[in-house]
């Protein structure tokens, strides 16, 4: 077994110490600080990013709340405006309706008056026509010409009796 040959034992130990000591020195002074630096940097960056993300999230939530509040206010306002407009329109409609019905009543009253006048006139005419006819009929039948007062009285009486 060449491993047990002591010829190179000292050489092996010597070079092991030299190589490993050099390796250890370079590792601890150069290589490992660099790796740990990079890893720390990354950890810091990740932590930083996480913190920033958290901050942004809180900000976004605040913005959302604000927006919802503004939306609610706007909604209320819109409802107010709508109500006002409706009320106005209702009032206007009522006013217009009453004006129209007033006008309508006026017109119908006028028409009724006119009808009444015409009726009165017609009735007056009817009375004189009836008196004339009664005078003529009386004269023809009995040859007596009644006085105007009697005739009109008689006509009135019979017309009243007719209703």
């Amino acid at each position: 077994m060449p491993q047990l040959d002591p010829e190179f034992f000292v050489s092996q130990l010597f070079w092991l110490v030299v190589v490993f000591a050099t390796l250890y020195f370079l590792m601890s002074k150069l290589v490992l600080p660099r790796i740990s630096e990079v890893l720390e940097e990354r950890q810091d960056k990740v932590d930083d990013d996480l913190a920033r993300a958290e901050k942004l999230r809180i900000e976004a939530e605040a913005a959302l709340t604000e927006y919802e509040e503004a939306l609610a206010v706007a909604r209320e306002e819109a409802a107010g405006v709508l109500k006002q407009a409706t009320d106005e329109m209702k009032a206007q409609a009522v006013e217009q309706q009453s004006a129209f019905s007033r006008k309508l009543a006026e017109q119908s009253k006028e028409a009724e008056d006119r009808i009444l006048a015409a009726k009165t006139e017609a009735l007056g005419n009817l009375k004189s026509v009836a008196a004339e006819a009664a005078v003529a009929a009386t004269a023809k039948l009995i040859g007596v010409t009644p006085g105007d007062g009697d005739v009109s009285k008689a006509v009135d009486t019979s017309m009243e009796g007719q209703g």
Partner: protein
């Protein structure tokens, strides 16, 4: 790892040849043989590969890591978590050592899978040196932190006093055998795996057309060896963490 025909046994591959240390640049200081060998070369290659891998992949310092950077960060975080979970907050200052240890073993084991390379973790002297240094360092840390209270590590808390006669020797032996089990586990795993690869290569050469059968097995073993390479580096490292935990927290 070069295949040397072994004329005596008739087996076409010498499975032990791959473990032979050869001097590339012979250096002798006094009586000491400090030659730069193929084992040393692969130690250097491993270290350079680790530094290049980590250095180049982290060069971009990208916030969103690419593939290479992810791999480097994965290694870092795996060991960081291992140290944190097993040793705790006090383990932070030992992290560079444990990370270097893990990467050195991992790269040593994985680079050893390259045909023709040298697996320095398959040498008991190398793994034992690491294990004994860890053992001594951990013991020293324990004594410096706790003084004589460190000795309570050898007697489970709450056990009846008379059991100390049995328990203390057992705990002591298990404690002292830690460097041996730690180093032998890694060394034996790496050596056995590499021998197995060579033996099956020999079977392929011996069986001719029928060699497809050992070839299929060889492919499976190769995959298994990659797993073992990673796993053994991991086990060595996590046991180091566990020993460190014992020394710092005394069970």
């Amino acid at each position: 790892m070069a295949e040397a025909p072994n004329g005596e046994s008739g087996f076409p591959v010498d499975p032990m040849h791959q473990f032979e240390v050869q001097a590339i640049v012979p250096i002798h200081v006094g009586d000491l043989n400090l030659s730069f060998t193929n084992a040393s070369l692969w130690m250097v290659i491993s270290a350079v590969a680790i530094l290049l891998f980590l250095g180049l992949s982290m060069r971009g310092r990208a916030l969103v890591p690419g593939r290479m950077q992810s791999m480097a960060e994965l290694c870092y975080e795996m060991i960081a978590n291992m140290v944190r979970d097993n040793v705790g907050q006090e383990g932070r200052k030992y992290f560079p050592f444990i990370f270097s240890l893990f990467m050195f073993l991992l790269f040593g084991n994985l680079l050893g899978m390259i045909p023709g390379s040298f697996t320095f973790t398959s040498h008991i002297i190398v793994t034992f040196a690491m294990a004994i240094v860890i053992f001594l360092a951990v013991t020293l840390i324990g004594i410096m932190r706790h003084g004589t209270k460190f000795l309570s590590l050898f007697f489970p808390h709450g056990a009846p006093l008379w059991t100390a006669v049995i328990l203390v020797p057992i705990e002591l032996i298990s404690y002292l055998s830690r460097p041996i089990s730690l180093s032998v586990r890694l060394f034996a795993n790496m050596m056995a795996g590499h021998i197995l690869l060579k033996v099956f290569t020999g079977f392929i050469l011996l069986t001719g057309v029928l060699g497809v059968i050992p070839l299929a097995v060889l492919i499976g073993i190769t995959a298994l060896e990659f797993l073992v390479a990673v796993l053994q580096a991991y086990i060595f490292t996590i046991l180091t963490c566990v020993y460190l935990h014992d020394a710092i927290h005394l069970h």
